[in-house]
Symmetry: C2
Subunit: 410 residues, 2 copies
Amino acid sequence: MALAVSPLALPLPELPPIEGVRLATAAAGIRYRGRDDMLLMAFPPGTTVAGMLTRNRCPGAPVDWCRALLPRGRARALVVAAGNANVFTGRAGQEACAATASAAAQALGCHPREVFLASTGVIGEKPPVEKICAAIPGLAAALQPEGWAAAARAIMTTDTFPKAATRTARIGEVEVRVSGIAKGSGMIAPDMATMLCFLATDAKLPAALLQRILKAGVDRSFHCITVDSDTSTSDTVLLFATGATRHPRIGPNPPRALIRDFARAVEEVLTELALMVARDGEGAQKLIRIDVTGAVSARSARRIGLAIANSPLVKTAIAGEDANWGRIVMAVGKSGEPAERDRLSVAVGGIWMAREGELVPGYDEAPVRAHIQGREVTITVDLGLGRGRATVWTCDLTHAYIDINGSYRS
Amino acid sequence: MALAVSPLALPLPELPPIEGVRLATAAAGIRYRGRDDMLLMAFPPGTTVAGMLTRNRCPGAPVDWCRALLPRGRARALVVAAGNANVFTGRAGQEACAATASAAAQALGCHPREVFLASTGVIGEKPPVEKICAAIPGLAAALQPEGWAAAARAIMTTDTFPKAATRTARIGEVEVRVSGIAKGSGMIAPDMATMLCFLATDAKLPAALLQRILKAGVDRSFHCITVDSDTSTSDTVLLFATGATRHPRIGPNPPRALIRDFARAVEEVLTELALMVARDGEGAQKLIRIDVTGAVSARSARRIGLAIANSPLVKTAIAGEDANWGRIVMAVGKSGEPAERDRLSVAVGGIWMAREGELVPGYDEAPVRAHIQGREVTITVDLGLGRGRATVWTCDLTHAYIDINGSYRS
């Protein structure tokens, strides 16, 4: 089924090369026809890696593979396959991982346990390991520093537009770059969803520090978006640091000032990519931003935001351009987080509809209705209890979501 | 918007009078035109009551009212209004409750704090208290022992068919009866949802015992259904015992054998009503039963069942008649409950598709496809870990759910 491009799509930005990173894509015919469906990224010796993987208890074989490799913190390659998730495939799935890593290691002259893997697509079908392995020598021969845009396209499944972002940062006086690509459209929820996201930087950082920076960034980006509350078995975020650019040396516990700008760049790339995923939520017609303030803690604020963002009744009301704030109140109440009805205030499009448990006297729905008819809808909830705040993003729930998900395999 | 009757609807059973219970309905014009929208039930002196109320943190004023009354365990009347939920209405909502209870108490010659209240409908609009109070004298004058069918109709909102169930039970050698009515269609999730359910019996039981029996029954019925994971601000289940039938006296802690049959009848009435609510899930085309076995505990089994039942991806796959067991695996994994991928088995329609983490060799999808094309779909998940089991019911997620909820207020 060919899907119309999301009306919330953003153009693909220009992505300059990252020193040390080489890329190639190929059409291996895993599931799709007439498009690239494999990505190989190669990194120089000494590249460090950080990663965050799905907490789904039934993860795919590639997730198990990466989880075993991450503690070493070293990477030389990444192989991504789109169309088959290699999930719930038993021993055959594990063997496919080992074979793929061996093929890449042989082609690149590294150890198989330096090869990271990710797959996305249908669950429960054995992956076509011969096709995947057969494509690898050609991919290795085609590696080159350009090609980030092709990479963003090769990892798509139900995505309707490719997703990439890039930033520069200063470490000391030296400029480094962070770029990333992501895919994800449905089965999107914390923790992370059928969502793959790969970042690379030319900075040189110890793996443990890279991990802390990545975790902080993911907590404020991908862990704050939801499309349908469904958490995928394959979610993977990886950040590779080639160390190809010379900047002041960074030890395991550097002064905060030295890495603040780099951490900012990582978080910005992650946030931009996460928002692109929400914009490409299956069937999305509207991007919804939910700001929660006045909660007892930031954690509580995020949970309240996610309860609103995951509520089918809120999401269908917004799809229908109905400023039904009663459903927002319901969703706050069902979150189970501390909330007092008579201190609760709700705004849509910046206009307060309810204040401290009651409809605002003389409330005029017209400007709210105008706001909700736009492509980007903002909901603000103030709990009136404390200083906890969070921002969460989602999209509306439309007929197209049902069309896409009622016939994905047919 | 007139809604087509659910294809899963069941006919309304015959409900004989319950000794001591008198009912009346009326068209008060709260929101709907051309139909009854108020129900008054009256009970004789000495009637005991048990109740379970929503755990939503932003409950409606009638829920607060009932919560304050329940510890006394005594009831003489119930007033239900359909069309306005009296939720998030501040002081005006509280005053509406007090005025309604006073009007009923005056008409019936009882104390206002013996009058239970429930409302359902739109949130955030002040209830038309004058209309409600004006209808009460006429309702009181029309009270009669018949009229359960009219009562089931009067409390409906987006329901497409009225819901009632009845059972008899023996206490000692004496037959007693338990009957109930319910309404609910969307915003249905544990704990309980925009769901009102009222049971009455002619048995005579202390309120504390009645409460224990009700809680056990609700845990195995309404707490095991979900339509959309949204928990309403108004959920109310009340059980009134008139004590009009003479049977062996029951103290606060009777021998289990004496009340076992009565508890069975209560649970059966609750389960029948809960299943009717799932059958009337907004837009439902299929009733889905999920049996979870082999979990580490019953509680864990129920949570896994609800994770499957609430997954939009599972629900849309079934709407599309796609036996996508990979999504079932995903939902098990996202529940956060103990699960081991390689011990997990999944069946649809009683046919095992995956066993211990892998597709069953030679699995033939044809009979599963035939099953999923029917009106009632059964999913079985075996965790292979322990002896915990649970059964959960839901419905599929269809275009009609979005139609109904994108335009409820328009």
